[in-house]
Every structure is written in C-alpha cells, then in structure tokens.
C-alpha cells in the first residue's frame, strides 16, 4: 500500500471516495491524487465507467405482444383476476 505526501494511505483515500464523489467535489484536486499514480488511475477508470454507463445504455423496445398482455390484465383487473 503506497503512501502519499500528505500521509494519507491509499486505503484511507479510497474509503473516502464514496463521500467525495457524492459531495460533488472534484476528486482530482484531492491532495492524495497529486502524489499517487495508483489512485489517479483508479479514479480515472471509475469515472470512465460512470460516463460509459450514462452514454452507452440504450432504450429497448418491448415485445409487441406486451401490450396485449397488459390489456388482458387490465380487463381482468376490471372484471376479475389478472392474466399474469
């Protein structure tokens, strides 16, 4: 485990990461990041994954017969039991 110039270990820095991300601060400005190549790489990869998730997930068309099932369920709901 490497140490940084401000004496924070990688484990200590990484334990703070969830709070740092959630607070909205720029993690890259953290003193530990200035001196630790390992954590810089980790943060860069996590940010890449988060960005990829935002950019890559498509919306998907449901199967055509799903509406028929929903209609049946609604009719069952109005008059009795559901279809599923």
């Amino acid at each position: 485990m490497s140490s940084s110039r401000n004496n924070m270990s990688c484990a200590e820095f990484q334990a703070q990461l969830p709070d740092l991300y959630a607070s909205g601060v720029n993690v890259n400005n953290h003193p530990h990041m200035q001196s630790c190549e390992l954590c810089r790489a980790l943060v860069a990869e996590l940010e890449t994954i988060a960005q990829a998730a935002r950019d890559l997930f498509p919306t998907v068309e449901p199967p055509d017969d799903l509406w028929e099932n929903i209609e049946s369920a609604i009719k069952g709901d109005n008059g009795g039991s559901r279809s599923r």
């Binding site: 969830p18 890449t48 935002r54 890559l56 509406w67 609604i74 709901d77």
Partner: protein, 228 residues
C-alpha cells in the same frame, strides 16, 4: 397466458415520440427529466386516460413503453422478468392514474411508480438491500494492489456497450440497483436512500463498490494484448 381476442394495438409511438421531449432526450440522460413545457399530446392523452378513455391509455403506453421497459430490464437484467414488471407497472398506472395531480411531471411520476414496482418484486424475492452491504474497508480484491500494473481502461478505450451491459447484469442485485438508479437514471443518493429504505452512506458505499466490481469485470474483457 390469456390473450385478448381482438387486441387493440396502441397507436404508433413514432409520431408521438417525435413530439415527446422526454423520449427525445439524448441517450443516457435521466429518463425522468421533466420536459421544459408539457407535451400537448401527452397532456391530452393523460387527461382522457384519467377520465377512463382506454385508447388514451394505450397512447400513454406507446409514449412511455420503451423507457419503462428499459428501466425494468436494466434493474433486473432478465428479459422475462422485465416484461412482467413492465406489465405490472402499467397495470399499476391504470389503477392509479386518476390520482395523478400534476405535482411533478407525469414521466417522473410514472418512472418512480415503475421503480417501486421493481423494488417491491425484488423484496418479494427476498432481496435485502441492507444485508448486501459490506464493510467499508476495501477487501483484498477491491484494494489498490489489484490495479497496480493492470491495463488502464481509460487509455485502452476498451469499454463497449455489450461488455458493460454484461458486467452490470452480473453485479449482485443490490449493487446493480444502486448503480442503475444513480449512474444511469440520474437519481441522487438521498432519493435512492428514500426509495430503497437504506442510509445515504449505504447508497454511496454500494455505488462505489458496484463501480469497483464493474472495473474488475471489464478488465477481464480487455483484448489479450492489453492484459498485464
């Protein structure tokens, strides 16, 4: 499964979607982002559906089916379950649509309704989100030592959609839920904590661990020459 003998098909969603600013949002943006001004087609369909007009309800389905189905699919990672949950979400919508008062955008309201349907189903299956939490200290396989000398995903540009989708689907259920809600759907930790009935700290730590697990999973899909 019983089918309607002469099912009325919902209106072609293409025309409605073109006019619907929510569906027209760029890929990856939060699906629940309210439109700047209400879509008149949706507003009209909503009012008629609230009055019991079945065709108007079909129109709302056509407008929102892709977003809701995609949400369910991401959250459970299983096509058959996603279809069941989408059906249940729209059935719930049909039951509750008269109670919508317009305090938020309809798309936001429907989005939350669908999430609640998914969460209820997961709880029925015995998923305890809290029990999935782990100690805050990094485990050996999550710690920094694992990444030393390993290929850099940001430099290899190796993240592709299929690998990411597969990695997300393979996440433990609690991690996957929080990752989808935060990183894909755009909810804040306080909103997630409220929805999942967990602490904000729990939401933050599980998101972080989800990203770490995805990082490990994606590295396994790197091209052979990029492996350490």
């Amino acid at each position: 499964m019983p089918r309607s003998s002469s099912p009325a098909q919902p209106p072609d969603p293409a025309a409605a979607a073109k006019r619907n600013t929510v569906n027209a949002a760029p890929a990856g943006r939060p699906a629940f982002t309210p439109a700047a001004s209400p879509d008149p087609v949706e507003t009209d369909a909503l009012a008629r559906a609230q009055a019991g007009d079945h065709q108007a309800f079909a129109q709302l389905y056509a407008i929102h089916k892709r977003r809701i189905y995609s949400l369910c699919l991401r959250m459970v990672g299983n096509i058959a379950e996603a279809e069941d949950l989408t059906q249940e979400a729209f059935l719930q919508l049909h039951r509750k649509i008269a109670t919508f008062r317009g305090d938020s955008a309809f798309s936001t309201w429907l989005h939350r309704l669908a999430i609640n349907v998914v969460l209820m189903q997961l709880r029925k299956k015995g998923l305890s989100l809290i029990s999935l939490d782990e100690a805050m200290e990094p485990t050996p396989e999550e710690g920094p030592g694992r990444s030393f000398g390993a290929p850099d995903l940001t430099l290899t540009g190796a993240i592709d959609r299929l690998a990411l989708e597969r990695a997300v689907a393979d996440l433990p259920a609690g991690y996957r839920l929080i990752f989808i809600l935060h990183d894909v759907e755009g909810f804040e930790h306080n909103e997630i904590a409220s929805m999942l009935d967990c602490s904000i700290g729990n939401s933050k730590s599980q998101l972080h661990k989800a990203r770490l697990k995805l990082r490990d999973a994606l590295r396994k899909h790197l091209p052979q020459e990029a492996q350490p």
